[in-house]
């Protein structure tokens, strides 16, 4: 694996290899000294065009646990605000010879594009509404730790599918691991054609009791101003996952941050069925495994190219 851009590029064995590696790193997390020397001398660059504390922090911690050097580059307040293009930013930062670039942008396909512009391993930390593959991997990991295999399990992803990169990556990852995925939400927030990913689509939660795992998506408040749904109140009354709708045998997941009282009621967030904290914990070890997968077998990049001999300003120029 050279990059992690989309779950589409992975098969079940790839996913299993990464989560198995994450399990090995889990043991380290319980030790007194939590760092491994594996990626000593390597540089991981976090390049974030969108606000993110969790994902960026999780990647930073993962890189540091593996003894890599970490540089954070946040697009706001930087040359990007002065009009620098994505390409120029990437080329400029590439001059520092990062071994990996963790990239989050609001644009689908940006990670793929960046992978063509530089030599670093690219980790997609979210590209527009397209994909967020490390989230899907940590969700698979979380389920594996809690319930083992998910072959044949019914997983419902509930909420604003249209604007969710988590939904797209998770549909692909859960399917690859053998689960049956159903997408549920208001018809205005379920894109036409999404069922061709091989999942079921439902516009009510009537059949939710059949689910083994309920994965709620964040309902962003700005969707209200675009009138995707009539009101948060109506949304909550039809789609909120609460104690009335969630049976005791069902597990609950959410990519965070949670809007209590909107997509989830407070009592289910705090219930033992909720894996939400476990998901956050899984973030670090899974991202360690991803960096390990991409970098450990890769040769370190030369720190500086040999300086070329200075050429005279005039004369002796090749014709």
């Amino acid at each position: 694996m050279n990059h992690l851009i989309s779950i589409e590029d992975l098969d079940r064995r790839d996913i299993e290899r990464i989560v198995t590696q994450a399990e090995r790193f889990e043991e380290v997390a319980d030790r007194e000294i939590k760092t491994l020397p594996t990626l000593r001398g390597r540089m991981v660059l976090n390049l974030f065009y969108e606000a993110s504390t969790r994902t960026r922090g999780s990647f930073e911690l993962a890189a540091k646990r593996l003894s890599a050097d970490v540089v954070n580059f946040v697009a706001s307040g930087s040359s990007v605000e002065k009009g620098e293009s994505l390409k120029d930013t990437v080329l400029t930062l590439s001059a520092h010879k990062p071994d990996a670039i963790v990239l989050r942008t609001p644009w689908a396909g940006a990670s793929e594009l960046v992978s063509r512009w530089c030599d670093a391993a690219i980790v997609n930390a979210g590209d527009g509404k397209h994909e967020h593959p490390t989230q899907a991997l940590l969700d698979v990991y979380t389920l594996r730790r809690r319930v083992g295999a998910i072959d044949g399990a019914s997983i419902w992803i509930v909420g604003d599918v249209a604007h969710s990169r988590v939904a797209r990556s998770n549909v692909l990852a859960f399917q690859r691991m053998g689960a049956n995925v159903t997408l549920a939400g208001p018809p205005t927030l379920i894109p036409r054609g999404i069922e061709q990913l091989g999942c079921e689509v439902r516009y009510t939660l009537e059949e939710l009791p059949g689910a083994d795992i309920v994965y709620a998506l964040r309902m962003q408040r700005e969707r209200m101003s675009d009138t995707w749904v009539p009101s948060l109140r109506e949304y909550a009354s039809w789609y909120q996952v609460n104690a009335r709708r969630l049976a005791p045998r069902q597990l609950l997941m959410h990519p965070g941050p949670v809007n209590r009282g909107v997509e989830l009621s407070g009592e289910v967030v705090d219930s033992p069925q909720a894996l939400i904290t476990a998901q956050v914990e899984a973030g670090v070890v899974v991202r360690m495994a991803v960096l390990y997968e991409l970098l450990a077998s890769r040769e370190a990049r030369p720190s500086a190219p040999p300086a070329s001999a200075p050429r005279p300003l005039v004369g002796s120029r090749p014709a």
């Binding site: 293009s85 689908a108 894109p191």
Partner: protein, 482 residues
């Protein structure tokens, strides 16, 4: 009411040319036969049996090169922009060997020359060079420039610029509404007096039905075809590709085909009610073809165009998120593509237009959702359609030729025709020549072509526009004097 000739520009030097034993194909003139064709002082003066006309002494001979020879010549020429060598004045002879086709020059009713204001993408010189290289004898330029072409003084200065710089004649469609804002009509009557061929808000729709109706009524005073970009912005807003399984999977904002087809249906209805003449630009889906067919069946004075990319590509080609595949209207389904092809065959769609929309490299070298809409098309239109539709047996060559030159009559201009006494508007093509689009650069200032890198068969060797030779391809070599 138009006081000025609507087409302006082109080269001064009238051609002196003998095309010997070329296969003349002009569906309009009902010719499909080998002929000798003599052009004198820019006019077709003789059409005779092959081998019956003699060249004057001192005539330079030209012959078609094979693919390999052309590639070598292009490699040697490097990035130099001029396609063929510029020869001094004097009569020329091309030996078609019974094989080269002589066609009426193509006519493109929809190009963006980006002048004024966006000359980093294209200008009148580069855009009309691209047209000439693609076999087009005339083009119609759209007004979504900066500033918008919406006033008579600007039209006058643009026509002056075209008179100096245009390699093929150019017609201009000033805006229907000032600034393309959809709020107030331009001074359409004065613009017509100053040579406006018609009007268009291309790049944007006329959103308000009431505003469009005013323009349709005003047409009774000033004439001029209204050329309509159809898009309901409340349906297309935020969209970057066609709505379907692929947009859902990629999480990219989508444009449903109904964003176009509902507006085509609305405006056809309005045109019928006002008995006005409208032309629908760049149809992209089956429902729009049906709406145009229904309007024609009711006797409404509507016409329609389709672009090569909508006839040859579909949303599946967007999967790699190549920004050259991003255009409005977006590439739709294969079923839509087939409906467009059927519409072209049946005549529901009257003509081919390229919607040649150049964008600078840095503008397109960005994530898909950020990229501007548009693909260039002038230099590849014929070769791509010949390769994709004629060679595959979808349509015959005569139909393609007819549809590629039909745009002129739709805008009340004389159709290019191969007949004695007519000005030479001719395109000489080698149907066997295979080349790779963009391999050795473009005449256009921009390279954002959706067909770039594709193997195409069929190459324009020479173009004559309004009596002058405007393009000699590198695939044409000097073959010695006779």
């Amino acid at each position: 009411m138009s006081a000025q000739a609507p087409l302006i520009g082109g080269r001064e030097a009238p051609a002196e040319l003998l095309l010997r034993d070329v296969h003349v194909l002009d569906p309009r003139a009902r010719i499909d036969a080998r002929r000798d064709v003599r052009v004198r002082e820019g006019r077709i003066v003789e059409l005779a049996e092959p081998g019956s006309l003699d060249a004057e002494p001192g005539t330079r001979g030209l012959a078609a090169r094979e693919t390999g020879e052309t590639r070598a010549a292009e490699q040697e020429a490097g990035p130099e922009q001029e396609a063929g060598p510029e020869w001094e004045a004097g009569p020329e002879l091309v030996d078609g060997e019974g094989r080269l086709r002589l066609l009426p020059a193509f006519f493109d009713p929809h190009v963006h020359l980006r002048t004024p204001g966006q000359e980093h993408k294209e200008d009148i010189d580069s855009g009309t060079r691209a047209a000439a290289a693609g076999g087009f004898g005339a083009v119609i330029a759209m007004p979504n420039t900066d500033p918008v072409l919406d006033s008579a003084p600007l039209l006058r200065s643009l026509r002056d610029a075209a008179a100096r710089a245009a390699r093929v004649p150019v017609g201009f469609l000033p805006a229907i509404t000032r600034g393309l804002l959809g709020e107030q009509l331009t001074e359409m009557a004065e613009l017509r007096e100053q040579g406006a061929l018609g009007f268009s808000d291309d790049g944007r729709p006329v959103v308000s039905a009431g505003m469009l109706r005013k323009a349709l009524r005003y047409q009774r005073l000033c004439g001029g075809v209204l050329s309509l970009h159809e898009e309901d912005p409340t349906l297309s807003r935020g969209g970057a590709m066609h709505e379907g399984a692929l947009s859902a999977a990629l999480g990219i904002g989508a444009i449903p085909s109904v964003a176009e087809s509902t507006m085509v249906a609305r405006d056809a209805e309005l045109a019928g009610y006002e008995d006005a003449r409208v032309h629908f630009q760049h149809l992209s889906c089956a429902a729009s073809v049906e709406a145009v067919a229904a309007a024609k069946a009711r006797g409404f004075r509507v016409s329609a165009e389709v672009c090569p990319h909508h006839l040859l590509l579909s949303e599946a080609d967007v999967r790699g998120l190549d920004t050259n595949m991003k255009m409005y209207p977006p590439l739709a389904t294969d079923a839509d593509r087939r409906a467009l092809l059927e519409g072209l065959r049946a005549g529901t769609i009257d003509c081919v237009a390229t919607d040649h929309a150049p964008h600078a490299r840095e503008e397109k070298e960005v994530p898909f959702e950020q990229a501007p809409m548009g693909t260039t098309g002038l230099e590849t239109a014929f070769a791509a359609l010949h390769t994709g539709l004629v060679l595959s047996g979808e349509i015959d060559l005569a139909l393609l030729v007819a549809r590629m030159s039909a745009g002129a009559e739709l805008f009340a201009l004389p159709a290019p025709s191969i007949a004695v006494g007519r000005p030479a508007n001719l395109t000489l093509v080698d149907l066997e020549h295979v080349w790779v689009a963009g391999e050795h650069g473009w005449q256009s200032r921009s390279a954002n072509c959706c067909f770039a890198g594709r193997r195409l068969q069929g190459r324009v060797l020479m173009t004559l526009a309004a009596g002058a030779i405007v393009h000699r391809d590198r695939a044409l070599a000097l073959a010695g004097a006779s």
